[in-house]
Every structure is written in C-alpha cells, then in structure tokens.
Symmetry: C2
Subunit: 387 residues, 2 copies
C-alpha cells in the first residue's frame, strides 16, 4: 500500500426534497451566482423553474450560461469565464450531468487565470485559485460531483483533454435520484458503462497489495451490473436509480484509489480521441474500447488481475488465469451488449480511416498506460481489435 | 435508500515517515497541546520520544496526560479536561488505540462544558463546542480515527456508554501501519474482531435497498478475514498491517452507513455491559456475543440477510436461507476461534451470576436493537447461548 494524504472536500446532500438545502451551502461561500446548464432537460423536468424561484426567493442574484453540450467545449468555458468576470460572480452552480459539471470546473478555474483556459488542458498552466462551485446532478455517470477533475473538448483542434485540482472539488453536490428518471435508455446505459470503466481504470494496476481497494472495486461493479436491468426497464425505480447514482459517485471520489498507483486510464485517453473526432457518447466509446484494450494488453504476467476480476465480478469458474481472463472479457462485452451499448467501432459507423490520427493524438504527451505502456502502434492495434 | 447529508471532516495522513506532517495540521487550528496516551507502548516503540522532539523543535508547548487505560475511564477524561483548562490548551493530540482516541474526544468535548463530562454519556448533555483534536493511531480496531464517536467507562457505576458529535471528528489522523507492528497476537485478533463487528452492526438492518452498502461491507469483511492469518503470523508485514489498518478506518467512517438506518448495535451495547463489569478486551467480548446474538435473533423474516452474509462472505453454498444462515454463524464462530478469540463466556471465566444485572443495564434506556427489539429477558437468553 502506498502512502497517501486525503481529505474529502465535498459535502453530499443525497435524496429527495433537498433543493432548498443548497441555499445555506451557497451562502457560506458565495453571493452572486453563475447558473450553468446544458440543453433543455432541466427545463422539461421543472428543475430550472424550481432553482430560479429558489434563488429569487432568497434574493441571490445570478446570471445564466446555457447550452453546455456533451463533450463540453472550451468555447462554453470561455463564455462562462467572461460572464463571471463581467458580473463579478463568485459562485458557480452547475446543474446537469458530468459535461456541465466539468465545464463549470474549468470556468471556476478560469475566472482567476489571465490566460486562455485551454492552457489548463495542455499543461501550460496549473490551477492556483478557483471560484467555489456547487452541483446539482442529473445523470449518474462521471463521478465529477465529488472530485476535482474535468474533461474539456476543443472542436477547433479535435482534442479532448483532462485537467484537475483539489480546489475544483464542489463544495456541495446535491444528488437526487428523481432528477435522473427522464434519462433515456441510451444515456442510462452509457452512464453505467462510464461508472464501470472508472472502477476498471483504477483496478488495473500492477500492484498486488491492494486487497481492500480491489474488493471494494468489485463490489461497485457487481452492484452496478446487478441493478442495470432494473434502471433500464423501470426508469422511475427510485431505489435502483439511487443505488446507481451513489455508486457512480463512489467510483471516482478517491475511495478506490487511496494507497495505490493512480490507475491505468489508457481506455479513457484512447476513447477521448474517438469522441473528440466523432463526437460519440463517451460511455458508448468506452464500451467499444475497454474490451479491445483488455484483449490487447492481457499477458501472462498480468493475467492474475484480469482473472481476479473475471472470477469475482463475472463469476467465471476457471483455474487457469489466462483462460479465465479471456472469459471475463467476453462476459463484460456481452454485458455491454445486453444494455444496448455498441462493442465495435463498426456499430457506431466508424471506419479505419482515422485510426492513425487518433492513436497519435492519444500519445501526444508520450506513451500512455500503467499495466502496459502503449505507443502509437499499440493503440492502432487496439483500434483494429475494436473495428 | 434513505436521504443523507454528509461531509467527511478528517484528513487522513497514511503511511511511513509522515510524523512531521502533523505540525502544519496542528498549527492550522491550535497552539498549545494536550499530548495524551495510554501505557508505555508508545514509549517502547520510540514514538513518544519522536513526538516530544518534534513538538520541541517546532516550539509547540504541551502538557501530558498518560495512563489512559483500555475501556477508558471517565476519571481520565476529567483529568484531561482539568489539565486543558489549567493550561489553556487548545488542541488535543491523541496517540494510541481507540481507547486513547475516545478518551480524548470526551476531553475535547468536556473542556467547554461546565458540568461533569459523564453527562454526555448519560444523555444529560449534548456536545455543542469542542477543542479540535488530531490522532496518531497505534492499533487497528475501533475506527475512532475518522468519526466523532467515543465510548467511555465509569468504574464507580460499572457503566460503559457512548457519546458522539460531528465536531469530535479528528481534524487529522496519522495512520502509520508500522506503529502497529508491536501489537501482540491477542490484541491484533481482538482488533480484527472489532473491525468485523462494526461492519456487521451496520450490515444488520431490515432494509433491502442497500445493495452497494452491503457489497462494500462484504468486501471489508472478506479482506479482513483473508489477511488475518498474515498479520497474526507476520506482525511486521507492512502490507498486511496497512490493509487491515485502512479497512478498520473504512469500517466506521460513515461509508457503510450512508443512506441506511444506523445499524443494529445490540451486540456492542450488550458487550459494553460485559466489559464494564469484567473489564475484558472489547474485541474478545464481541467474538463471544456476536454469534450468540445472531443465533438468537435469526428468524424466517430476516434469514435472507443472514444468508446473504453467509454466502457472500463465508462462501456457504446452500439455497435454504435459514440453513445457510446457521452455517454462516458457525463459520464466523470458527473463524474467531481460529484467530485465538474466545467464543463463549466460559473461556474468559465469566459465569452466570451477573447475567440479569448486565441484561438490565444494557436496556437501561429502553429496548435495544434494530432487526429485533430486545428487552432484558431477550438479552439474558443471548447470554445463556454465549455461556
């Protein structure tokens, strides 16, 4: 087990009828808000009206930033920074899924930074100061509600890159499972895939002294898998939505990575290049790339870990590690298919024309990966498995 | 899943060579210390000298409270409060196991309370203000290092009672597995039993929509069980000590109880009455009472939960819930025996002379328990099973 220092910075407000509880949390650190959201979904479920009424009732002035898109773009970040500066806003309230939350983190960081906020994504600048932010989550997927990380896209350069800092952790996150009732099957399944992928990215480490972290990781995946049919068939099943929502938060709030190397993350980095060019749903991209990545990097040295996952999560009974590992990959692929996710590039109409470009961009800052270092040629091979 | 609000208040410093890192944490909130510890163990492992040298180096004035005993007594709490007041101390540094930590929480609460600190234990007073405290843990067992709870004994009244408040959460806890190397087999095994018992107290709830909490609970017990032989046979195995130490913290930091009823806790309440009179090691008392409690409360309605535990933790293969449950209890008892814990009162020389007295005191504030309400007669029956 590796040394670590950690303090959770986010207060969680979980459950129904808690919207008004955000007011004292906001007032503790802010007085003038940026209210940021995506498309119309928060309006159609009535949440937007409730929030606006609440802010008016408590006389909290606010400006709005709307239209933040999935795979959020740097242009929204720039726009949010501008609105905050022009109106002296000192708190960002992000209402939506991970895309809105991530965009708002970049805005929060950008307000006090003189350069272009894209600098954070290309490692030209580090976050030193940030406007506090709070979140109201409407999609269980990214875990962004309890960490300081964000992923932003740049449609001019076809890039999708990550940034992060502890001060970008939301001061509070309101998690009301009812707000996820209207998430359709596709996005629910993509969220499930994203949750499982986060756990797996952290799970794939060459270290062996990670028993409790591994056991908890397996617990989160098993819970997600077992409840997936329920949320997909009964979108308004509060209990199942609640379990998935909370599992999503636990998957990426630090809990699974304490005392370990920071995970592999190759699949996320590779997928980012796919969705940067083709703008596919992130979770769908992960369902395609993860099994392909596993198939490519699996070898005799690391087979024990793949086999552990296969046995403890997918119930594979096979004493041979390599064989168990392959069966586990097949089981995972079959699970993704069962929830309606694509498991090949072909299924989302991506051909082999950009494989080299995407592979090159994925390792733009050098080779990637933890349990196996990958260069451009390796990544092209992974894409070929995924075709 | 039930609604909850939560923020973790404790910063964890986990690993080797981190002692000096406590200084900035202390300086953030305090300037004059109470250094509190138990017997001589922190002196024999050299930790006491290191701490004193460090405080002197950083010119932090401190007074000492030593001799805090296992099942910590209210007299130590009163003494600590007196020392803090007389010397205007504004920070408590607890160095030791759960007993020292619990004693220090009661001291922290008592400094600003005009009455006798025992009032907190008998629900005559609630904690409104407290001196901040930090901890350096030397025993993996109670989980006290990341929560606001404490259990204090009163040797005059033969009582052992709990208190708690969020502001009693340590501001930091230093967890160095090396500090647990010299914990002997008996206390290591008692600590393991305490960890498992905490998870089980939280696990036994009548609720069914607790899938992720249950899965994580099972993960923590399985990790503890699988590493027990290693720490018992190789007390200086860093990796195993580290896993057990971190699991111990996770078992009672809130993680397993979010969104649920607060657990059953009958076994702890019953055991407290045993160790209040006979002063046995808390973990040993739990190893005796837990299987007896399970045997008594198990019925057709709640068998599903006992069976879930039996199958997922103890590997019982039996499709009948009641039968699986009984096999699970037997497996747990056998595990406790295998690590050297007693599983009957007879083994610790306790006869039936005080059963009625202990049972009466256990339900002094009314019947206890969540999955089954227990009155005096029930508790006597549990003791009889445990004889």
């Amino acid at each position: 087990m590796r040394d670590f220092n950690f303090k959770f910075n986010t207060k969680i407000l979980f459950g129904k009828n808690k919207l008004e509880e955000i007011i004292p949390e906001i007032k503790m650190v802010g007085s003038r808000l940026l209210l940021a959201y995506g498309g119309g979904s928060i309006k159609s479920i009535g949440l937007y009206d409730e929030i606006v009424a609440l802010l008016n009732k408590h006389q909290i002035p606010f400006e709005e930033l709307s239209g933040i898109r999935p795979n959020p773009g740097i242009e929204s970040v720039r726009e949010g920074v501008k609105i905050c500066r022009e109106n002296n806003l000192d708190f960002v309230l992000a209402v939506g899924g991970g895309s809105v939350l991530d965009c708002c983190k970049a805005i929060a960081a950008g307000v006090h930074y003189e350069g272009d906020p894209w600098d954070f994504m290309v490692q030209k600048a580090v976050v030193k100061k940030a406007v506090p932010l709070g979140t109201i989550l409407t999609l269980a997927a990214t875990g962004s509600e309890m960490n300081g990380n964000a992923v932003i896209s740049n449609s001019e350069t076809f890039e999708k890159r990550a940034m992060g800092a502890p001060i970008l952790c939301p001061v509070f996150s309101l998690l009301n499972p009812e707000y996820t009732y209207t998430v359709n099957k596709w996005h629910t399944a993509a969220g499930i895939t994203d949750i499982i992928s986060h756990v797996l990215e952290l799970y794939f480490t060459p270290e062996k002294s990670t028993q409790v972290q591994d056991a908890m990781s397996e617990a989160l995946i098993k819970t997600t898998v077992s409840l997936s049919p329920v949320v997909l068939e009964q979108p308004e099943n509060y209990e199942a939505r609640a379990q998935i929502m909370w599992t999503s938060t636990l998957a990426l709030n630090g809990l699974l990575s304490f005392g370990k190397l920071p995970g592999d993350w190759s699949t996320h980095l590779i997928e980012h290049e796919v969705s940067a060019i083709y703008d596919i749903t992130h979770g769908a991209g992960l369902a395609i790339i993860f099994p392909a990545w596993m198939t490519y990097v699996l070898d005799e040295q690391n087979a024990w870990r793949f086999a552990k996952l296969a046995r403890n999560v997918w119930g594979i009974i096979d004493t041979d590690d390599l064989s168990a590992a392959h069966k586990g990959i097949a089981a995972m692929k079959s699970f993704f298919s069962s929830i309606g996710m694509p498991v090949s590039l072909k299924e989302v109409d991506i051909d082999d024309s950009q494989l080299g470009t995407m592979a090159e961009k994925a390792c733009r800052f050098g080779s990637i990966g933890l349990i196996k270092k990958l260069n451009k040629a390796d990544i092209v091979e992974i894409f070929k498995i995924a075709l």
